[in-house]
Every structure is written in structure tokens, then in C-alpha cells.
Assembly symmetry: C2
């Protein structure tokens, strides 16, 4: 409906306030379209791209899943459509309330809130699905409508942000103010980056494990390597993936990803780089040029890391990843092959075998020389 | 060995620096004792309370599990003891290194670090067990030795802390500086509370769910109800339970706990209040006077909350809790009975059925009138 997707893809410096205006406009346009159809004595109708598996395609150019040309129609003329049609309009109305009143919510909250409006959802799966419909119709993600997940990751580094959330407008915080890191929630996700000094921050490092995030802060990785550190806490939540993309584009600095050396860690990196099939209807969530720094299967060999044998589940996962078009690149093929050959996995903490600071003093500088994957 | 336990139990205002001194002293005393025995031409030996189930007793007075009088002896004279004896001394040495060098670590890290010293642990379960032995011998918890878990919870409120970690000594942060909350990691756990104003903070509210923590911040619960908010992120990590106790004792303010209305939520509150059987060898981790504010089973009835049926697993859990001596109090018996009768559970988000702010405007003030459980 709104050509937001293309715009923000081409536009490297996006203002959060501008984005919020576009989110509200997209909701108004959806409502306006339905309203106009009613005034014109037409049965209100809208179309959106189909999210059926057959319509999820991998796009080699943007290196991510996108939706194809098939679309689905929801019309108030069709009795079978009236339920999802009404549910979508309620969801859009509730999203508009949240966004314009600056209140955040969770998927679970949306499900219960519907009951306050006597809107009928059989279960949360149904209301979750309608939120995804709204994402598909508007091309904005649910976080843009202030629907956030429970999971929180964290950030730390010498970068100053300026908040846009109510009560904090114009207030600033340097992200190195709290040496345990600060949470990436609605306020940080919608903060503007101000006072960025490339002499202080010229890269972003995303880390899977909390223990290592803390180690990096203690060992002053942010100063030694001029990095903003992000703790993904396992698979990075969408708000964190959105933030990584913004940091990459708005600060114009590379993003490095460090995960455990196993198929699951590899995939944490991949989802940051190429997004997920579940989010094929969305843009702005992935960082195509982010670099997976390790732990690679070849690192397990090269650094003689303590390791555990790959389990049957790990090997099954490798088979799946091998068939996944996101893994077509040379690095990924080589690492999948190496995992298969050595049949071993190693965690990030395995470097402690050489002392607690080895990973910071030796491994990290070697990996930060990578220019791409 | 060191009469730390009793001291800090009686002492409401404990200084973090003082505590760190005691931790190092306890390690020196352990080493000194072994050294003296060797100099005296004795086989070095030490004793610690047994952690076998038969020796874990519930103490009605302190309302927590403690260890009984049985003890185990580890002697270098006994060939079967040499392995765990040596492992304990290495663990103490490594803990001393971490603590005196202000480096933090994880249980996983300890396991891998041992390999740097050619210290043999079969697997992580063995090294974890030795860390627990060291806790038992010294009465200090592993967080006191800078061994932290991966999990992080968060804190927010108008309270200023002063850090004691390297690079941040003397630096201060007001905990309302970041409206998503700041992480509770090693730096916050060891920070001193300064500039506490009872007109600004006269209670602590611990919340299970992240969505509700964010809602509370947005709705200015910290100002309206003069509260410091803590997000436990499910079962509160030990560092967070230690922090809750410190806030309760050092600021002399009550702690309220809000969880989901199910057996698991009830137990999250209970572990904050009465600790866990696994930590029977430790003190300073529970807050006996903390108040479970809800969601109670009786709230599900009184507030006509949307609910889900209790599963077989939930009912099995209720049977376990009923036999648990920590649940002997009237409130707990009544709530277990009510869960059984109504056979329903409700999440914190269920209050959204009455609008997003109902929980803050109506439910919370009613519950904050509670003086005890």
C-alpha cells in the first residue's frame, strides 16, 4: 500500500520520527481505503501478498526471502472473509491506538486486549496471525506498531542516543554509562544516534553469549577496537536485528557477529545477515553486509579448541542448512563441510582453554581483519 | 570456616567493598589452613557441611532450607579424596584470581579454564559441583567469586548507584536513566546504593514478565508508587535475588513480587522469599519478608480474569508444592487450594482484558496495601 519498503531500503539515514509518521499514515490509508469503499457503496476489499510457502522466494540480489506475486483478497462481500476482515480492521485500530498513544504491548497483550473490545479471537495463534496480516498489508513490522516480544538483548559502547519516547524526549544517554549494558527495548529501538564519533566507534560487534559480552566489556573491547557491543542473547530478537541494521546504515560501520561454533550459532549469524523466511513480508530487519566472524568449524581445527561431538540433531540441522538458499556462499559451504568432516562443535567459551583474555587479545583482532564473508 | 554468614545476616547495611574483602579473606584462610597443615607435617584436610538430601532441613525460624550437622571430610591422606581435594584447591585458586583481578566468568568458562592449568574435570557437571563445594566451604556464593550465570534480569527506578568495578570506581548512574531498564550484571550487583531518597523510593516491585515491566515504566509506576522496578525474567537469577535482599535491607523498604497466576509463578515468588533447596548451603540470597502480590488463584476468581485450564503438569506441580515446607503459610495453602478448585491459571497480561492500564490503575494499588503474606 505505502511504498515504505523501497524508500527506506534506498535511504541510509532514516529518522525514527519520520518512520513513525509513515507507520501512522499507512494505518490511516488502510482505514481511509475501507471508508471510501463504503461511501462509494462498494463492499470494502483489500489485497495483500500471499504468505503461503509457495509464494516465499529467495532473492539472490538482496540475499533474503521475499514474497512473490501471488496475492490474497479479503472482501466483506464474501461471508467466509468477514471474520478475518473485521479482525484485521480491529488489529489496525488497536495498532493505531498503541502507536499514537505511545503505549507498547506484547502479542499476548493484544490477544487479551481484544476481549476488552469484545473482538473474538479463538486463541493467541489467531491474533498473532492477524498481526502478521497487518505487517503484510502495511510492510511495517509489529515493533513499528509498538508490539514487542518478551525477549530483550543488550547494548554497550561509546555512542550517545537521544530518546523519542514520552517523558524522555530529547534526553540523552551514552551507552557506556552502565557497565553491564542497557536493555534493547522500545526506548532504545526508537532512539536517534547522536554525537557519533568514528574515532570512538567504527564497528559493531554482536555476541551470542552473555558471559562473553561481559568479558568484552571488562577487557575494554569497546575502547581497544572502537566497537559498540551487542548481546543477542541467542537468536537476536527482531528489535535487535532492526537496531543492528540501523547502526550499520546510519553510522556506516561494519557489523561483526560472533556465535558458538555449531549449526545453531551459524544460523544466528545468518538470520542477522539474511533474515528469516517467516519475515519474508518485511524489509529493514536484516544486515546483508554483516560479517560472521566465528566460531567457525575451521576455527575449531585451527585453534585446536576443546569440543563436543556433533549430535544427531546437529547433523540433521546441517542437512537442512545445506539445502537452504541462504547458505549458497563459499564460506557457508566450506564451514558446513568442515562441521561434517570434523563432527565437532565448540562454544565461544572454549577459548578460555588458553586463558580468559586470549579471545580478546588474539582471536578477535585476527577476525576483525575480515572485510566480508 | 569464616563466620561471614551470621555477620551479614545480622548486619542490615553491608558494604560491597567490605564483603569483597571477606571473600578474599575466606579464600586466604582456606589456603592458609592447608599450608599450615603441610608445614606441621600433617596430611591436609578440611571439613564442610554435607549437601546430601538427608542433611537439607527446613528452618522454620529463618523460613528457608539450611544444612544440618552432618559434615564431610576431604583428606589428602585418603587416595579416593585426592582428586576432589586437589580440584577444590584449584577452584579456590581460580576464584581468588578472578576476584582479585576483577575478572568475571561463567560456570562454562571455569570448566574450560581448568584446561589451561591442566586441571582435569571429566565434564562441566564435575566442575560445577566443585564450585558448589567452594561455596559450601566458604559460605559465599559463586557470584561473590565473580562466577555469574548467562541470564540477566533488569532494573529501573529513581535510585542512584555508585560502581565499584574497575574503570567505573566512583562513577554514578541514576537507574531511571535508560527507559528500557539496565541489566543486572556484575557491575550492578556490586554497586553501592547512594543518594536514596525515601520520598522517591519507598518500595521495590519485582515483575516476572518483560512486557509488564515495560508497561510499568511507561505508566510511570516508579513515580506514582515510588518504586524501583525489577524484571526477574522468569525465575530470578541468584544475582538478582541477592540484589533484592540488599535493596530490602539496605534501603529498608518492602519488596513486592508479581508473577503469573499459576504454580510456576507462585514458585518464582517463593524462591525470592525462601530460597531454594539447592542453595541450602548459602545465606544472603532470599528476602524472607518479601510479599507475593499476585496473580493469586483468588484473583482469577475475584477479577474474573480470562484463564486457561490447568494442565496435568500444573496439577502435578501443585501436589509437589503442597508437600513443600515453604508452603506451610495460610496464604499459600489457600492459593494452592483455590488453584485446585478452580482448575484455572491466568497470566499477568490477562488484566489487559480491562484495558492496558487497568493493572496499574486498579490492581496494583489494591495489592500494594498488603503489609505481609
Amino acid at each position: 500500500m505505502v511504498p515504505q519498503t523501497k524508500m527506506s531500503r534506498n535511504k541510509s539515514k532514516s529518522s525514527i520520527k519520520e518512520r513513525k509518521g509513515k507507520v501512522l499514515t499507512s494505518l490511516e490509508e488502510l482505514g481511509g481505503q475501507v471508508y471510501k469503499q463504503i461511501v462509494d457503496h462498494e463492499f470494502p476489499t483489500f489485497r495483500m501478498p500471499s504468505r503461503s510457502i509457495a509464494n516465499i522466494l529467495y532473492d539472490d540480489k538482496t540475499r533474503q526471502y521475499i514474497l512473490g506475486k501471488r496475492s490474497v483478497k479479503r472482501s466483506a462481500r464474501n461471508v467466509a472473509h468477514i471474520r478475518p476482515f473485521t479482525q484485521l480492521l480491529w488489529t489496525a485500530m488497536f495498532a493505531d491506538e498503541l502507536t499514537s498513544q505511545n503505549k507498547t504491548s506484547t502479542l499476548r497483550d493484544v490477544f487479551y486486549s481484544a476481549q476488552a473490545y469484545e473482538m473474538d479471537f479463538r486463541d493467541q495463534a489467531e491474533s498473532d496471525n492477524l498481526i502478521t496480516d497487518l505487517e503484510t498489508v502495511t510492510s511495517f513490522s509489529r515493533e513499528d506498531f509498538n508490539v514487542y516480544p518478551e525477549e530483550r538483548s543488550a547494548i554497550f559502547g561509546d555512542l550517545t542516543v537521544e530518546y523519542t519516547v514520552p517523558g524522555y524526549e530529547g534526553k540523552r544517554l551514552n551507552l557506556s554509562s552502565h557497565p553491564d549494558g542497557v536493555m534493547i527495548g522500545p526506548a532504545l529501538t526508537t532512539a536517534e544516534f547522536v554525537q557519533h564519533d568514528k574515532k570512538k566507534v567504527d564497528k559493531i560487534i554482536a555476541i551470542e553469549k552473555g558471559g562473553l559480552f561481559t568479558r568484552f566489556i571488562e577487557e575494554r573491547v569497546h575502547q581497544k577496537y572502537r566497537a559498540v557491543l551487542i548481546h543477542t542473547a541467542g537468536q537476536a530478537p527482531r528489535a535487535t536485528r532492526f537496531l543492528l541494521r540501523r547502526l550499520n546504515q546510519e553510522l556506516d560501520v561494519p557489523v561483526y557477529i560472533f556465535t558458538d561454533g555449531d549449526p545453531w550459532g551459524m544460523h544466528i549469524a545468518m538470520v542477522i545477515i539474511s533474515g528469516s523466511a517467516n519475515a519474508a513480508h518485511l524489509r529493514d530487519l536484516n544486515t546483508p553486509d554483516a560479517i560472521w566472524g566465528g566460531v567457525w568449524a575451521t576455527d575449531i581445527v585451527d585453534y585446536k579448541l576443546p569440543s563436543d561431538p556433533l549430535t544427531d540433531l546437529d547433523l540433521k540441522r546441517l542437512n537442512e542448512l545445506e539445502k537452504d538458499p541462504r547458505y549458497a556462499g563459499d564460506l557457508w559451504k566450506r564451514e558446513i563441510d568442515t562441521f561434517r568432516k570434523v563432527k565437532k562443535k565448540s562454544e565461544q567459551e572454549a577459548f578460555s582453554r588458553y586463558g580468559l583474555t586470549y579471545i580478546v587479545d588474539k582471536y578477535l583482532p585476527a577476525k576483525l581483519k575480515l572485510k566480508s564473508n
